[in-house]
């Protein structure tokens, strides 16, 4: 074995050993969901001695008290609506700021950029009172609409739009395209990659949001998965089997989506970190 392949081999072994730290806890979650409670509350080895699907049956068979599918549906609807709304309003605004005549643009864009530094929690209390006045508390609107005011999407797409050659838009305008149809037929097709990244980012952020739903929602059947599961832990405190089975079920959709969109998610993450 020469020096280079030895180095390659040792790197691979190191990664293999290191990744156990990340993978094993996930495997334990999967295995524990198939264990009877007696094996969970008394450690008897990593593999279940007696495989059972009773936990899943109980979690899914009691939609009155544990509306798991309802929470899943809420999460899906809220995340899709949030990502769609953010993508729509941010891309239109970013394009008009990058390209169109916008008197006072530097001040407007500067203000938008400055708010990137504001941590979300600082807005929690005032937004809660605002939503209370609007009567939106305990509705999906409370989570969807305020998210669309965020600056990240505008910032990201603005940077990208600046890099698109102007000739294309000018040609479209000469052909008599309206602004809107130029945007839809010229800009959108050219911007698929950053738009997909923004959509996925917003979707994931909304899917995993914990503080928002915890504060803004309070009826059982309106919860999203993260808050539903958290509540579950509080009320089924001692029934680890149920809690873990529910946890596994609510991770499955994310896991499947990750398998499909892995490249976009990871390259989007990487790209977002490369911009200074």
């Amino acid at each position: 074995m020469n020096k280079k392949s030895l180095r390659l081999f040792s790197a691979e072994v190191a990664m293999g050993v290191g990744s156990l730290f990340f993978v094993i806890p996930c495997l334990l979650l999967v295995l524990a969901a198939f264990k009877p409670d007696s094996e969970i509350v008394k450690f008897q080895g990593i593999l279940p001695k007696q495989w059972t699907i009773a936990n899943f049956q109980e979690v899914l068979g009691n939609p009155e008290e544990i509306p798991l599918l309802r929470w899943l549906l809420n999460s899906v609807l809220i995340s899709i609506s949030t990502a769609t709304l953010v993508l729509t309003v941010s891309s239109l605004a970013a394009w008009s700021m990058a390209r169109l005549r916008l008197p006072g643009k530097p001040i407007v864009y500067g203000t938008v950029l400055a708010t990137l530094m504001v941590p979300g929690q600082i807005l929690l209390v005032p937004i809660y009172l605002l939503l209370n006045t609007l009567g939106w508390l305990d509705t999906p609107l409370a989570l969807i609409v305020p998210a669309a005011g965020g600056a990240f999407g505008v910032f990201m797409l603005h940077q990208f739009f600046l890099g698109i050659p102007k000739d294309l838009e000018e040609a479209a305008a000469l052909d008599g395209c309206s602004r809107m149809s130029t945007f839809i037929n010229v800009i959108v097709p050219l911007s698929r990659a950053p738009m997909a990244t923004l959509f996925i980012f917003t979707f994931v952020g909304s899917w995993n949001d914990f503080l928002g739903p915890l504060v803004f929602l309070d009826s059982l059947e309106r919860y999203t998965l993260p808050v539903g599961i958290a509540l579950f832990q509080t009320s089924y405190y001692t029934e680890y089997g149920l809690t873990l089975a529910a946890s596994l079920l609510c991770t499955l959709p994310t896991f499947i989506a990750f398998m499909i969109f892995q490249r976009q998610i990871i390259s989007g993450m990487a790209a977002s970190g490369m911009k200074e």
Partner: protein, 287 residues
Amino acid sequence: MKPRASGWIFAAPYLTLFMAFVIGPLLFGFALSLFRWELLSNVKPTFVGFENYTEAFRDPYVHQALGATLRFVWMAVPTTIILALVIATGLNAVAGKRQGFWRAAIYVPHLLTVSVAGILWRWFYNKEFGILNALLRPIGIEIPWLSDVAWAMPAIVLMTLWWTLGGPSVVLLSGLQNIPVSYLEAASLDGATPTQRYFRIILPLLRPVLLFVTVMHVIGGFQVFGQVYMITRGGPELSTRSLVQYIYETAFNNYRMGYAAALSWILFAVIAIFTLVQFRLMREERS
């Protein structure tokens, strides 16, 4: 291009939402922090000036929450950056196709939403039947992970490392891959050892990405909430209660909106100071 309808029409939907849900609440939140404003009580909101802020500076719970938050940041952020750098370097050394596999393996914990990750680790940390103590017991160790002040914060940090390391590792990996191979080849020709290449060429070129990742993690670290809420609820003896959790409890358990708004602005100020200091340090180092 002949001038047509102003761009404002396209920007209007976003800017309306931006004013209503960012600028408005920001200003309203600051105004709120100058009032005694208690929801669910008969007392009308009254203007109190900076009284909420002076109360916060004297409030022992604020000191405790700030201390816990700082301890979290101090324990979690440097380890995250160093380990992510090690992982990224390791991933970068693995040949092409296999790299994607290991990268995905490291990223998997981040697919768990915070409540699931919290439940899972709460179970691992259980003193009687958690797997960690089950593995340690044969060698005569039993750690009261979540009930001992000395162990609770390290336990939160360990779980956080497991949960979040994938992100910065991926970012740093792509930073490493953006370094032109020609630089490294030139250094080898000049007789640089691998260690010299790593510390003299790779790390300096990686610095902008490292700064970005560090700043983002410091900002994120000051906002820690979900995993603490799920694993310890701030205990034992409030030793892991973070500023965000204290703000949450002040606003939504005690309904003291004005005081919570003031605490939010204090958190913002702390984050802003730390961010500025980091940028300043980096700039001084450069010049």
